[in-house]
Amino acid sequence: MDFMDNDKVLLLDKLLNTFGPSGNEEDVSKIIEKEIESHVDEIHRDAMGNLIAFKKGKGKKIMISAHMDEIGLIITHIDQNGFLRFSNIGGVSHSLSNGQRVQFKNGTIGFISNEHLDEKEDLKLEKLFIDIGVSNKEEAENKVSIGDVVSFYGPLVINNNRGFSKAMDNRISCFVLIEIIKRIKNNNNNIYFVFTVQEELGIRGAKTSAYRINPDLGIAVDVTKTGDTPKAQLMEVSLGNGPAIKILDASIICHPKVKELLISTAIEFNIPYQLEVLEKGGTDAGAIHLTRDGIPTGAVSIPTRYIHSPGEMVDFEDVKNAIQLLIKFLEKEIN
C-alpha cells in the first residue's frame, strides 16, 4: 500500500464523498480547484461549469479531461404522505437502485423501495419511491424540493490495495488528473486539464470545453468495465493488470496514432497496460474528437468492477500506473 498513503486516501475520500450528480458539480469543482490552484498557471470556469486548468508549455495544445459528475436521481414529485418520486440522472438501473440509500446535498438521507408488483419483471424506475422518514407532504417540503437531486450512498472502503465506493466513476479519474497536475515536470506541451460536467447525460461538458480550447490532441480519462467476475460478459480487461488503453467504444474509435503513442510510452517506461474494446458506453473522448474540424483523440481507462453501482471497485496499482503512463505521455514532445 505504498502508493495510497494517508494524504492520497484523504483526498480520494473527499472527492468521492462530495455531492456531484450531473448538473450539480459545483462542490466537486470547488474542491478540485483548491487542490490544484497553486500548481497551474490559469484556472477558469465556463458557462456550463466545466473547470479548465492550464499549464503553459512550449509545444502543441493538449486537452486531457475527466468528468466530475456522478449518476444520481432527481426528485419530480412529493406525494401527500411525504413519499418522493424521481427520475434518473444518467444510466441508473431500477435493479441497482431498489434497496439503496440515497443522500441529498443538505445531508438528508433516504431509502428507496418499490410499489407492490404482481410480476417481478414489471419493476421499473416509475414504480420506485424514496422514503425520507416524514409523515406528510409539508414535513417533506421542509427538507427537500422538487428538482432536488440525490446521489447514491456508498462510502469508500479499502481492502489491501483495492477500494470500492460510489462515484469511483469518475472521481478516480479526477484524482488521477490532480496527481498528474501536482507531479508533472518538463512542459513540452501546453496542457489543458479539463474537469468536465454532465458526461453521464451525454458527454455534454466535453463538447463545449473542447470547442473553446480547440486542442491539437485530446485524451479522456474514465473508467471501463472488466471481465474478471463470475460468469462475466467476455472482456479482456481485468483489475490489477494495468490501466486500459482504449481502442473503441460506442462513442469513439480512438485515433490509431494516439493509441500507438500511449502503447509505446507504456512499453518504453515498463508500465503494465491492457487494451480496451468496449461495446456499449461512451466517454468524453467521443465528444472531443468530433469538435470543429476533428481532433486526434485517445483515452486511458481505469478498470472498474460494478460500474454505476454504489460499490464501484478499482485496484490502486492500476491507478498508480495510469498516473505514471499519462505523466510520461504528456511530458513527451507530441507532433
Binding site: 450531473s22 428538482g147 463545449t208
Partner: protein, 345 residues
C-alpha cells in the same frame, strides 16, 4: 386572432413555407432586421436601447408533426409515413390536407361490420393505412399529388369549455405566438427571436440558428405534454392544465440552467402568478441543441401545458398562455435590471 392564424397554417417539419410567411408578415414591422437562414429558420433582431452587446435569445419552433406522401397505389389511394412522432392510433378516421394546394383527403379504415373480432383489438400501424382523396386510379391522383407532398391535419381552432382552446399544432405555434407578442416591447438588451424549423425531427433548426446568433442567454418557449387525465397517476402528469406555465428542470436533451429555472419559478411565486415545474424528464426541445452550441449557452425552457399533444386535437388553457407571457415579461425585466448572475460567461 393570432393563435388561430398560426395553428391553422400548415408547416410540417421540412415544409414550413406557409407558417413561415404568416410569421414573417406578423413581425416585419416589429423588428430592426430579419432574415431567413440557409435551412429556413427565421432570425429576427431588435437592437437594444442601452446595452446592445447584451444578447438575449427567445426561441420557438414553427414546425408541426405531420405526414408525407411516399407512394401512390394503382387504386389511386395514397401511402404515407409520419414526420415527427405521431401515435398511429390518432390517425384513424381523420381528415387531412395534402400538398401546396391543400387537397382534402380522409384516412379511412375498414368498417367495423367487416372486421374480425380479434382485429378490433389490434392497433393499426402506419404501413396499414392510406389516404383517400376520392380519385379512382393512379393517374388521376398523380395529376393532383406528388410524392413528397406534406400532409397536415384538418383541424380548426375552436374555443370551448372553461377557457380552453382546441387546435392542431399548439406545439409549438403557441410558442411562436408568445414570441410575436414579446416583440411589441422595447428592451435595453438586444433581443433575438428565432422561429426554428425541424424541431420535431431532431432539434435541427435550433442547432444552426444558435450557432449563428450565439447569445449570452436563451429561453425556449414550448408546448409540452399535459397528461392530467384519467388513467394516469398524479406523479405521471408531467404538467396540469390551467395551473400556469411549466418550467423545465431536466429532460432527455438538456438539464436547464438552474438559475434560469429557479428565477422563472420564483417570479411566479413572488407575483402570485400560477406556475408549475414540469415533472417528467422524457422528451426534449430546442434547448437541447441550443445549450451545447460553441462554448455553451445558458438556456432555460418555459412551456404551455397541452393535452393530447401531437394529435389533431391538442388542448390548452388560455390562462396558462397569459400567465406565461406575464412571467416572461418579468423575467426579461429582471435581466435588464441586474447584472444577471454569470451572465457574461
Amino acid at each position: 386572432m393570432l393563435l388561430k392564424k398560426l395553428t391553422e397554417a400548415i408547416g410540417v417539419s421540412g415544409g414550413e413555407h406557409e407558417v413561415r410567411s404568416v410569421i414573417v408578415k406578423e413581425i416585419t414591422d416589429k423588428v430592426d432586421h430579419m432574415y431567413i437562414d440557409k435551412i429556413g429558420n427565421i432570425i429576427a433582431y431588435k437592437k437594444g436601447n442601452k446595452n446592445p452587446n447584451k444578447r438575449v435569445m427567445l426561441s420557438a419552433h414553427m414546425d408541426e408533426v405531420g405526414l408525407i406522401v411516399v407512394n401512390i397505389e394503382d387504386s389511386g389511394l395514397i401511402k404515407f409515413k409520419s414526420v415527427g412522432g405521431i401515435d398511429p392510433r390518432v390517425l384513424l378516421s381523420k381528415i387531412v390536407y395534402i400538398g401546396e394546394n391543400f387537397i382534402s383527403g380522409v384516412i379511412g379504415t375498414k368498417a367495423i361490420h367487416l372486421q374480425e373480432i380479434e382485429e378490433r383489438k389490434k392497433a393499426l400501424k402506419i404501413k396499414d393505412l392510406y389516404i383517400d382523396i376520392g380519385t379512382s386510379n393512379k393517374e388521376e391522383t398523380e395529376n393532383l399529388i406528388n410524392i413528397g407532398d406534406y400532409i397536415a391535419f384538418n383541424s380548426k381552432y375552436i374555443e370551448f369549455g372553461n377557457n380552453l382552446i382546441k387546435a392542431k399544432a399548439l406545439d409549438d405555434r403557441v410558442g411562436c405566438a408568445i414570441l410575436i407578442e414579446m416583440l411589441d416591447k422595447e428592451y435595453d438588451f438586444s433581443l433575438y427571436t428565432i422561429f426554428t424549423v425541424q424541431e420535431e425531427v431532431g432539434l435541427r433548426g435550433a442547432k444552426v440558428a444558435a450557432f449563428h446568433v450565439n447569445p449570452d442567454i436563451a429561453l425556449v418557449v414550448e408546448g409540452t405534454t399535459c397528461s392530467d387525465v384519467p388513467g394516469t397517476e398524479s406523479h405521471e402528469y408531467a404538467t396540469r392544465l390551467g395551473e400556469g406555465p411549466a418550467i423545465s428542470i431536466m429532460d432527455a436533451a438538456s438539464y436547464s440552467d438552474k438559475d434560469i429555472a429557479k428565477t422563472l419559478y420564483q417570479i411566479g411565486i413572488d407575483n402570485n402568478i400560477p406556475v408549475q415545474y414540469k415533472k417528467t424528464t422524457f422528451g426534449g426541445n430546442d434547448s437541447g441543441a441550443i445549450h451545447l452550441t460553441k462554448e455553451g449557452i445558458r438556456t432555460g425552457a418555459i412551456s404551455i401545458p397541452c393535452r393530447y399533444i401531437h394529435s389533431p386535437s391538442s388542448v390548452m388553457n388560455k390562462n396558462d398562455y397569459y400567465n406565461c407571457i406575464k412571467i416572461i415579461n418579468l423575467f426579461l425585466e429582471k435581466i435588464e435590471g441586474e447584472d444577471f448572475h454569470g451572465f457574461h460567461g
